[in-house]
C-alpha cells in the first residue's frame, strides 16, 4: 500500500526505519558520497552510478528511476512514450496532503504518475514496456497506473510486440480506495488477453513488488525475472510479524526466497540484465512473429 515505504524493509536489519524514501536513504549530505541503505557502505557517487546503483560492497540493488531503468534496458534512442497526459483524480475527495504530494512527486520524478510506458527496442526487437517508479508515491497503483499498464498490454497485443513490465510498488494507491483495487482486475485481464493472442509477456520484479501489484500482473508473466534481493510478497513483513507475533526468518520474501519456493524463474543481477532479457525475449520473437496463433 502507498505510504508504506519502509514496510517491506523490516527484515533488513540495517535499514534506518525512520526514513521513508530510498533515494534519501542512499544519500549522504555530500554530493560526492552515497551510503548504501543496506550495508552502510559509503561509495563515491560516480562509482555508485557507474555501477547502476548496485552497492560495490554488499551487492544490494538500489532502486532505479524509470528513466534510469529505460537507459539500462533499451537500445539507445529506441524509446517511444505511449499514453502521455493521463493524471490521477481524487475520486474519494480526500483532503490533506495527497494532492500536494502528487504535485511534488511529479516535480521530483519528471513523471506524470508512477509508471512510464511505451515501446523500446531490445537488440532490435520491439518490446512494449511499462516501468513503475517507486519514487512516485511508492509506485502505488491507482487508476492511472492501471490504465497505462492495461493500454500498454493491449497495444502490445495489437502490434504483436512482446510485452515487459518492470515492477516496483508497494501495492494499491489507498487514496483511490476500491478503484485502486480494481486495477488488479483490469491489468490481469489484459495479461490474459495477451496470452490468448500468444504474445509473450515478461515480468521483471525489482525492489519492492508487493501487495496488489504482486498479486496481479507481476505474478502472471510467461517468464518472471527478478533482481537480486528484491522484496516480493503479498502481505507486508510488519503485518505478518504482528499477526504471528514472531520475527521473520532472514531472507524472507526476497527474490531468492521466491525462486526457491517456485515463483521466480531467474534472479539476474543488474549487470547482466540487459543481455539476459534480450536473450530471453529473443527466444520468443521468432516463432511468435512467424506463426501468430
Amino acid at each position: 500500500m502507498a505510504g508504506l515505504f519502509d514496510k517491506f524493509r523490516v527484515n533488513r536489519p540495517k535499514v534506518d526505519q525512520s526514513r521513508s524514501d530510498e533515494t534519501q536513504r542512499a544519500e549522504l549530505p555530500s554530493d560526492l558520497w552515497i551510503k548504501c541503505s543496506d550495508c552502510g557502505n559509503a561509495m563515491y557517487r560516480k562509482v555508485f552510478l557507474d555501477n547502476s546503483k548496485v552497492c560495490d560492497k554488499c551487492g544490494f540493488h538500489h532502486k532505479l528511476t524509470a528513466h534510469e531503468r529505460l537507459e539500462l534496458l533499451a537500445d539507445p534512442g529506441s524509446f517511444e512514450e505511449w499514453d502521455k497526459g493521463l493524471f490521477s483524480g481524487n475520486p474519494l475527495g480526500i483532503e490533506g496532503e495527497y494532492l500536494e504530494k502528487l504535485v511534488s512527486d511529479r516535480k521530483k520524478t519528471g513523471l506524470e504518475d508512477a509508471v512510464l510506458s511505451g515501446k523500446i527496442e531490445l537488440t532490435g526487437i520491439p518490446v512494449g514496456i511499462a516501468i513503475m517508479d517507486f519514487h512516485f508515491r511508492g509506485g502505488s497503483m491507482g487508476s492511472v497506473v492501471g490504465e497505462k499498464i492495461t493500454r500498454m498490454l493491449e497495444r502490445s497485443g495489437d502490434l504483436r510486440f512482446p510485452a515487459l513490465v518492470v515492477t516496483s510498488s508497494g501495492g494499491a494507491r489507498m487514496q483511490e480506495g476500491m478503484l485502486s483495487l480494481m486495477q488488479m482486475v483490469r491489468t490481469s485481464a489484459a495479461v490474459r488477453r495477451l496470452n490468448d493472442l500468444s504474445v509473450p509477456y515478461f515480468c521483471l520484479l525489482t525492489d519492492p513488488t508487493t501487495a496488489g501489484v504482486a498479486a496481479s500482473f507481476a505474478a502472471l508473466g510467461d517468464v518472471i525475472v527478478a533482481e537480486p534481493r528484491a522484496i516480493i510478497g503479498f502481505s507486508g513483513a510488519r503485518v505478518i510479524e504482528q499477526t504471528i507475533r514472531q520475527k521473520l526468518p532472514p531472507g524472507f520474501q526476497t527474490s531468492e526466497f521466491y525462486q526457491k519456493h517456485g515463483f521466480i524463474d531467474m534472479v539476474v543481477p543488474r549487470s547482466e540484465l540487459r543481455a539476459t532479457m534480450a536473450r530471453l525475449i529473443g527466444m520468443f520473437a521468432q516463432p511468435v512473429l512467424e506463426s501468430p496463433a
Partner: protein, 322 residues
C-alpha cells in the same frame, strides 16, 4: 466480537425498559398502556434514526457482526443439493473458503464463498475466514469446473483479507490471488458475486470478479482494512473509525463509483435481524441477475466482463491542482 454494537445500545436500553413496563402492567395494579405505546413509538423512531444514519465504521461493525449470515447460511437457504467439494488438488483443503456444486432454483451451479467460523473453535478451524493460497486455488479449480460444464457461478464475499502468515507467503499468496483474478476474467460461466459481510482487499477480490457484483446494504468492501489504513496513515490503529469514512468502503459509495452493480437493502438493524427477509431479497436478486446473464454466450460474457472492469478507473487529462 460482542453481538451488541455500540450504536444499538440506546435502542436496546429502551426496549428493555418497555419490557419492564409491560411486566408491571401485567400485574394489573396500574395502567401503563399509554406510556408503553408512547415509548414503543419512540423506540421505532430511534431504530430508524440509528440505522438510517449509520457511520461507515458502524457498517464495518455490522458487516463483521458474529451472527450475520455467512456463506453456508446462504447456501443452505437458497440452494438445494449442495455437495461440498474439497481441495486444490495441489496442497490442501482450505476451510476458509467453501465451495461445491449445488442447485439454484433447480439449475446446477458452482457456489464458492469465504466462510468465517461460528464460535471460537470453528473460527480457528476456518482461520477467521482468511484464506491461504490453497483457498484461492480451490476456488479456481471449482470455477474452472463450472466453466468446462457451463455452470453458473455464485461467489459470496466475507473475509477480513487473505491470511498474512509466513507459510501463506511461502506458498505464494500473491500468485494464488493473481491467478484467480486472471482466471475469473476468462471464464465462460456467468458469475454473480454478492458481498455479504466484509470484503477485505485482495483476499476478497480473489473470488469476486463477477459479471454482476452485488452488495448488501451494510456490507463493506475495502482496498485495505480500516485498522491497516489508520496504521499506515496515522501510525495509530485506533483511528480505524476515521479511516473507515475515508476509504469509501460503504455500499452507497461503491455504487456511486460504479464498483458494484446493485445494493440489496437489509432490514433495520442488519441482515442478522430478519434473515428470512434477507434470504428472500437475495434470492430475488440472484435470480434476476442470473436470468439476464444466461441470455449471453460464454464469449459474450467474457467480452462484456472485460469491458466492465476495463472502465473502472478515474483518469484525468489534466493534473488536479491541490
Amino acid at each position: 466480537m460482542s453481538m451488541i454494537l455500540e450504536v444499538e445500545k440506546p435502542l436496546l436500553e429502551l426496549e428493555n425498559k418497555i419490557k419492564e413496563l409491560k411486566e408491571v402492567n401485567l400485574t394489573g395494579r396500574v395502567d401503563l398502556s399509554s406510556e408503553i405505546r408512547l415509548l414503543e413509538r419512540k423506540a421505532e423512531q430511534l431504530k430508524k434514526s440509528i440505522y438510517e444514519n449509520l457511520s461507515a465504521w458502524d457498517r464495518v461493525l455490522i458487516a463483521r457482526h458474529s451472527v450475520r449470515p455467512g456463506t453456508l447460511d446462504y447456501i443452505q437457504a437458497l440452494f438445494t443439493d449442495f455437495l461440498e467439494l474439497h481441495g486444490d488438488r495441489l496442497y490442501a483443503d482450505d476451510p476458509a473458503i467453501v465451495g461445491g456444486l449445488a442447485r439454484f432454483e433447480g439449475r446446477s451451479c458452482v457456489v464458492v464463498g469465504h466462510q468465517k467460523g461460528k464460535g471460537t473453535k470453528d473460527n480457528l478451524a476456518r482461520n477467521f475466514g482468511m484464506p491461504n493460497p490453497e483457498g484461492f486455488r480451490k476456488a479456481g479449480r471449482l470455477m474452472s469446473l463450472a466453466h468446462r460444464f457451463r455452470l453458473p457461478i455464485f461467489t459470496f464475499i466475507d473475509t477480513p483479507g487473505a491470511y498474512p502468515g509466513i507459510e501463506a507467503e511461502e506458498r505464494g499468496q500473491y500468485e494464488a490471488i493473481a491467478s484467480n483474478i486472471a482466471l475469473m476474467t476468462e471464464l465462460g460461466s456467468p458469475i454473480v458475486t454478492l458481498v455479504i459481510g466484509e470484503g477485505g482487499s485482495g483476499g476478497a477480490l480473489g473470488i469476486a470478479v463477477g459479471d454482476r457484483v452485488l452488495i448488501l446494504e451494510n456490507s463493506v468492501y475495502s482496498v485495505i482494512s480500516p485498522e491497516g489504513c489508520a496504521t499506515i496513515l496515522w501510525r495509530d490503529a485506533s483511528k480505524a473509525e476515521q479511516a473507515a469514512s475515508w476509504l469509501g468502503l460503504t455500499s452507497d459509495k461503491l455504487l456511486r463509483l460504479g464498483l458494484v452493480d446493485e445494493v440489496l437493502s437489509e432490514p433495520l438493524g442488519g441482515a442478522h435481524r430478519e434473515t428470512e427477509n434477507v434470504f428472500a431479497t437475495v434470492r430475488g436478486a440472484l435470480r434476476r441477475h442470473l436470468g439476464e446473464l444466461l441470455l449471453s454466450t460464454p464469449a459474450e460474457l467474457v467480452t462484456s466482463r472485460y469491458a466492465k472492469y476495463r472502465r473502472m478507473g478515474v483518469v484525468l487529462e489534466q493534473a488536479l491542482t491541490p
